[in-house]
Symmetry: C2
Subunit: 112 residues, 2 copies
Amino acid sequence: MKSDALRGHLDALLLATLDGGRLHGYAIIEALQRRSGGALDLPTGTVYPALRRLETAGLVASEWSTVGGRQRRTYQLTKAGKRALAAERTAWREFTTAIEGVLGGGPWPAQA
Amino acid sequence: MKSDALRGHLDALLLATLDGGRLHGYAIIEALQRRSGGALDLPTGTVYPALRRLETAGLVASEWSTVGGRQRRTYQLTKAGKRALAAERTAWREFTTAIEGVLGGGPWPAQA
DNA sequence: CGTTATATGTAGGTAGACAACCTAACATCA
DNA sequence: TGATGTTAGGTTGTCTACCTACATATAACG
């Protein structure tokens, strides 16, 4: 996967991953792998800063917990986050429609 | 359309636009508008440098012509460019498959 | 003659993802 | 006892592709 391809879509991925319930960062990364069929393997240096950005933006909220002696920061969607996710899904559809209109299915026919 | 969404997909768009035949930069921008249903309106500062990158990479070739007193630099795909376009289309399919696996259709069901 | 459309570019800045690195608790196996 | 791996959370610095804004020139239209 070309490294820049995710640009601008990462937020949607994270929000969608949290749509099923609260998760901590590490689990988010694993969920992304699973749900993408292994295609997405995001490094922590990508995910953790992104989650903080989302929290700063008010789209997710986090709280600490300790499980088996290990610290976890679990995230969940806020109401604004759910709204943002809906917007992201719409934007995604528009985006793919636009790109596929161009990518088409092969050579473009002589202009009508 | 979020301005960053195109990141990493611009080359595919340009190559696909040239798949129908030779075009000059300005015409490429118009074709992108048309074929995307108006969703894509790429600034010249994005397209012209990108075309030069593609030419440097050997994916397109250009030549000058003069039409109605105006200079045009028309581009066409090279063989490597056609191969790159096919690869881009494949990458696009993989990309959307991965993202849609995550975005899904709504909240993720409790893990089976 | 001014404005709009056609046409090509450059310069500079930015943000977002990534690579590389670091810390820490616990588990497992030798 | 120590080596290695897994789970878990982070930071720092870099890269670069794209964007914004600007600059240029001709033709066409009013």
